[in-house]
Amino acid sequence: MKEPNIVLEARDLNVDFHNPDRTVKIVNNVSFSIARGETLGIVGESGCGKSMTSLAVMGLVPKPGKATGQVLLEGTDLLGLPGKELRKIRGNRISMIFQEPMTSLNPVFTVGDQLMEVFRLHQNASKAEAREKAIEALRMVNIAMPEQRFGEYPHQLSGGMRQRVMIAMALSCDPQVLIADEPTTALDVTIQAQILELMKDLKERLGTAIMLITHDLGVVSQVCSRVVILYCGQVIEEAPVEEIFGDPLHPYTRGLLRSLPAIGRREKLYVIPGSVPGARDFPTGCVFHPRCERACGRCREEAPPFFDRGGGHRCKCWLYDTGEGGLTHG
């Protein structure tokens, strides 16, 4: 059942790191899809494979890692494309902003130079055209005095301003998909809100689908329409945002929600016992069982498949085994 307005779809995406002694699986059979203009949140703790998933979509998995499976951008499998074709798509039809605005811009080139590069590369713009478009892009992300900022170096800008520049750069070619890897994590709360607002606003204006990677459920509730919860490189639950907050299924998702601080509540915060295992020693059976309060014998031995709860809500947990068997497709 392929929906017609799906822009990006990952099917059984795997990222393996091959070392001489063994192979480590960082991302394990991850599948998700994003519709046109939709914002999909990918949520998980540090080290659960969020960033690696996004790099795999971009074809930027660092060596010696290797991504397998399928990443379909409007039907074209990006993983199968030769480097040259992929480069035409990167930064053009699918682009990315990163967690650290402080280090994501090149310190030795001006903001303008780095912006112009995208237009020169993907739109064959002349220098003068590129300059004009770059200034226009700065204006689009609400940077004051864009002509002046154009000639400045990244170190002369604040963190929020740099992230705006990154967004301007990422959106400059009207991409179908924008991958935002923790775009607000490194910013002050007030700046965070501004950046989220800006992303929401631009998404509506340009119709870009956003894949938002974050560990911040607050951010998710503000901007996402659907959420994928990742744990140990696997999707363990996927649901519309209201369902995730209203009726979370997986014990891990519940744990995440319970560990959110609420204003006015002063009791001790809930902590999920244990910590995320390293990629070298992911548990057998259900990956979450060593930390799960409701784990049973079956969880230790057998990995659960997806159980569909209807309404686009699916979950990988034996608690929801109705006896009809799970979905075969991960």
Partner: protein, 315 residues
Amino acid sequence: MLNYTVRRLISSIPVLLIVAVMVFTLIHMIPGNPAAVMLGSDATQEEVDALTQKLGLDQPVPTQLVRWFGGMLRGDMGDSIYYDRPVTQVLSERLEPTFLIVAYAILVALAIGVPLGVLAAVNHNGLLDKLCMILSMVGISCPAFWLGLNLVILFAVQRNIFPSVGYLPLAEGGLLSALYYITLPSFALGLQRSASIARVTRSSMLDVLNNDYVRTARAKGLGEFRVIAKHTLKNAMNPILTQVGMSLAQLVGGAVVIETIFNIPGLGLLAFDSLKRRDYPMIQGHILFVALAYILINLVIDLLYKVFDPRVDYH
């Protein structure tokens, strides 16, 4: 920046003073009568007395020191005994080939060292990396005079491509023929320096390659060549620049050996000949000149840092 330059120049005065005092004492470290040593064993007593008086060696040491500094301030470092002309004049005549050799050699070193280092970094831990590093290890271990002699055998004796000795000044043959004459000595010096530049380039590139902005450049859709040549290399330039500064200083010294081998009438050969001739004023002048060159090279390198990294702030 002008402010900084002026301050740096002023702060180099004490360094020059120390060098000057050390150079001054050089002549007094000669055992016996320096004038007699300089003139050799077949000089008459009258000649020795005349030179002693001319050099002011009959005066008390403090007076000599004052006269020495006075002369230096006026740019007068005395007369060469062998040439019987002012030291500064002889030095300036010999500057041209040395300057060209040093410049040529550093270009050779950069042209070979930087690409090798980049190649090694991009293929980190790969076969090319190891090959480049072995090559540079060999390069560092080869003395320039040995390289020079081998280049002569290969390109001047076996194949008559380049001249083995001599120099044609700019005024007589123009730049191209001058460069033609100094190609072998410049390569001999440059090849050796390229090895250390390759090593610095490699480690500096490896540092930069892991930065987020390199990933950003790739995410933009830039090709690998532009990612490396533009976004990485410029960031990796400053350690390379430091190495270039040190290499230049070493080249000024290295020119002594190489000019002697290739019989090129530059500062290096002049220093070597002056040592043999015990022409102490000339040697003093040469040492002072090299010290001055070191200071200026360092200053220029420090000012160049800003060109590659706009964050550099001269306070």
